[in-house]
Amino acid sequence: MNFLIFLGIFLGGGAGAFCRFSLDSLIKKHWSHPLSVGTLTINLLGSFALGWLTALTAGALSLTWGSEAARAASLIIGTGFLGGFTTFSTAMVETVSRVKVATSPGVKSSGERGVLGALFLLFGQAVLCFVVAGLGLALGGAVS
């Protein structure tokens, strides 16, 4: 049973990473925004989905499928797919990149404002993801 879970997490994680890569490439191709909205969008979607799934598997799904199956679903889709879909490291790299651009010589956007802007986006992304995660938890818990 544990091996099946492992396989599910492996395939789910791979699929999540693949979807992240595809979606990010798509967004980059059609919408070249300096603020790199791809990772933000992906993390928002994933945080909402995980909140929703967590509440669902703890509540309604556990009742209809049984706690074992609900736990398995939570691991494979939550830890696996959504864990592979969202990314903390890429978000950090993008933040550092913004800071470096803002502090490099010969760049139009002034140094301190650019750095503050980058840090604002760092915390802003977190706050937004917290909010949508809470929303997901609430909506998932409301399912009966």
Partner: protein, 190 residues
């Protein structure tokens, strides 16, 4: 893995295809450089990007789960995210500084490593969704102190770690003087 240089005489006026291989000009992979050399990049031999990302992501997610099982008492997500931020900052900077991702063997290796280890493994290993849901769950349990500690530690340590990774790669790469190796890897006129 090889690429060949075709040396062709200037294309006749009105002609629209490469003389040696006959492909129409403007075919992807057919480049005209200043010396009027037509180079056919062996794009077909590249490992598909999606496959590399998939495999890396699977390994990353699996490792994250295993670590969570091994250390149930630790804030595993926090540790993983900070380590991953450092590692990805280091890796991407090091790759970028070590050379271009062209059709040369080392360029292809760089691309493979970036996609499989960077986008795939690091992206699958770290997770923003668990960070967000974990933070909200702390609020749900009324642990506001814990929430602020967890959230701020993740964001600040993550940022600093990533910055250190980038800085470390800049130091390492410059020490090995990669920028000296600018000559084309293989090739020659056939």
């Amino acid at each position: 893995m090889e690429w060949s240089l075709y040396y062709a005489p200037p294309v006749a006026p009105g002609s629209s295809s490469c003389l040696p291989c006959g492909r129409p000009l403007g075919t992807p992979g057919l480049t005209l450089c200043k010396a009027r050399v037509y180079r056919r990049d062996v794009k077909e031999q590249k490992i598909p990007a999606g496959l590399l990302v998939f495999c890396g992501g699977g390994v990353g997610a699996s490792l994250r789960w295993i670590l969570g099982l091994l250390f149930p008492a630790l804030p595993v997500t926090l540790v993983i995210n900070v380590l991953g931020a450092f590692a990805l900052g280091f890796l991407l900077t090091f790759l970028a500084l070590s050379g271009p991702e062209d059709s040369s063997p080392s360029g292809a290796r760089r691309r493979t490593v970036r996609l499989a280890v960077g986008t795939g493994f690091m992206g699958g290993f770290t997770t923003y969704s668990s960070f967000a849901v974990g933070s909200i769950e702390l609020i749900q349990d009324d642990a506001w102190g814990g929430f602020f500690l967890y959230a701020l530690a993740s964001l600040c340590l993550g940022f600093v770690a990533c910055f250190l990774g980038v800085w470390g790669a800049e130091k390492t790469a410059s020490r090995q003087a990669f920028h000296v190796k600018r000559q084309p890897e293989k090739g020659g006129i056939r």
